[in-house]
């Protein structure tokens, strides 16, 4: 059975798995944004916290994905459903690029600009929302882009704990020693990653502060 036949015969299942995949990546990314960006902002305001927070995010990044899925298994509520587990693990992996880039983006804002803003009487919140975040937006988006592309790839491994997604086809194909089945999982995942990368690249450009020459 060749690849195209397999694709057309199983298109409904492939579409389902693609949606599952998207759901896992989308949810984990949203959660990671909700945690990572505030953490990045926090460590830009409280330098004492910077090293420990980045160190923890670094350590998480070095745990092999299968091991991380295993570690999280005993967690209450989360461990009860494979999808929840996968979402949590993917979120944890997305944290590092988000925290790092949020911090780097804010720290990279010209000191004179921040000083002028404070000096003219902006409150700390106004400074953050009117000046620092808009100027850091493109760097933060670059982090989001990395996080999403990594999660789309990593989410294929979630199938190993029964969370579904396109990884299921890949694992099935490996077991059957059938390249068509592997490709039916791998190609949509790769396309998804490419699409996300392009879309976010475009957004990143749009949010780069006006720099006419």
């Amino acid at each position: 059975m060749n690849f195209w036949n397999f694709m057309s015969q199983n298109r409904l299942e492939i579409a389902d798995l693609t949606l599952e995949h998207l759901w896992m990546v989308g949810m984990s990314t949203l959660l990671a944004l909700a945690v990572g960006i505030p953490l990045g902002i926090l460590i830009s305001r409280r330098p004492v916290l910077r090293k420990p927070v980045i160190a923890i995010a670094n350590i998480i990044q070095t745990i092999p994905s299968l091991a991380l899925f295993g570690f999280l298994l005993p967690a209450p509520w989360i461990g009860a459903r494979a999808t929840r587990l996968a979402i949590l693990a993917l979120m944890l992996y997305s944290l590092l690029p988000l925290i790092r880039n949020t911090y780097a983006g804010i720290a990279g804002v010209d000191r004179a600009v921040v000083q002028a803003a404070r000096g003219m009487g902006l409150t700390e919140w106004q400074l953050l929302f009117k000046v620092q975040l808009p100027l850091a937006a493109s760097v933060i988006l670059a982090g989001v882009r990395v996080a999403i592309v990594i999660s789309i790839g990593l989410a294929t491994i979630a199938a190993a704990i029964g969370a579904g997604g396109l990884g299921e086809l890949i694992f099935r194909g490996l077991a059957m020693v059938n390249n068509s089945v592997i490709l039916a999982g791998a190609i949509p995942a790769a396309l998804m990653a490419l699409a996300a990368d392009t879309l976010l690249g475009w957004l990143e450009k749009r949010f780069t502060p006006q720099l006419a020459d």
Partner: protein, 279 residues
């Protein structure tokens, strides 16, 4: 009889004018707007400012002169609380800066710095009008005020829609000054605002700043290391050296001072004139 009464009324007017003039002059010297009272500032255990006592009166330009590291910028930042003093007291309009709400204080005091720090993601108009929009002015009023400020700062009002990176260095400085004046603060703090400009542009801006100041009657605390700038702009010059105040006085008093450090400072700049003379 008629002529006598005319003369008489003229004399009355004359006397009245003189009395208001002397009153204005007296006010200028006795109406303190910023007062440093025995101010000390330490950073990492190092004394940056020592026992600083200085009064800036309404409507004057007091120039804080000193070499790099003399503490002049620090003194400026203590006034709008970008830094917090270690000991002593600073009063702005008779009130201890610690008693001021920090944000209100900073909006009461305009601030312009050498690197300007314009917001690169905002147009000139938004840069100048930001504080006004935070103060909830309505859009038309902000627009009109920005146009007025651009003209006041010697800029073409058409620049309002430009971004900072589309401006020349001199234009950026002017926008910086316009932004500092936006909410019409009675007090201005200026930290070498013309320091990064070429000498010709700097001279233009200094001249315009003086006439602007005569028009607006702001109280200005101006930091520079440039003696020429200090002599040109200052009503009074205060020399700082290693965190201590060396002397305060009018430009004339400064030049004729017999203080060792003042003479050294004047000499260092005098050598430029000498070099010119030798040519």
């Amino acid at each position: 009889m008629r002529t006598a009464s005319v003369i008489h009324s003229n004399m009355v007017i004359g006397a009245h004018e003189i009395s208001t003039m002397t009153k204005a002059a007296a006010e200028q010297t006795t109406d303190p707007v910023i007062e440093f009272r025995d101010v000390e500032y330490e950073s990492n255990g190092r004394a940056v400012l020592r026992h600083l006592n200085l009064t800036i009166n309404r409507g004057e330009i007091l120039v804080l002169l000193g070499r790099s590291g003399s503490g002049k910028t620090t003194a400026l930042k203590l006034v709008n609380r970008l830094l917090t003093l270690s000991r002593g007291e600073i009063r702005v309009d008779g009130r201890d800066v610690k008693a001021w709400d920090e944000i209100k204080l900073r909006r009461h005091v305009g601030y312009a710095i050498q690197d300007v720090g314009l917001f690169p993601h905002y147009t000139v108009e938004r840069n100048i009008g930001l504080i006004l929009s935070l103060e909830r002015w309505d859009k038309e009023k902000i627009h009109a005020r920005v146009q007025e400020l651009l003209r006041l700062a010697g800029l073409n009002p058409d620049l309002a829609s430009r971004y900072p990176n589309q401006l020349s260095g001199g234009q950026r400085q002017r926008v910086g000054v316009a932004r500092a004046l936006a909410a019409d603060p009675p007090i201005l703090l200026m930290d070498e605002p013309f320091g990064a400009l070429d000498p010709l542009t700097r001279a233009d801006l200094q001249r315009e700043f003086l006439s602007l100041q005569q028009k607006l009657q702001k109280t200005v605390l101006f930091v520079t290391h440039d003696l020429h700038e200090a002599l040109r702009l200052g009503s009074r010059i205060a020399l700082l050296e290693a965190g201590s105040l060396v002397s305060v006085g009018s430009p004339g008093e400064f030049l004729s001072s017999l203080d060792q450090l003042v003479m050294k400072y004047v000499e260092a700049f005098g050598s430029i004139e000498e070099a010119r003379g030798r040519k």
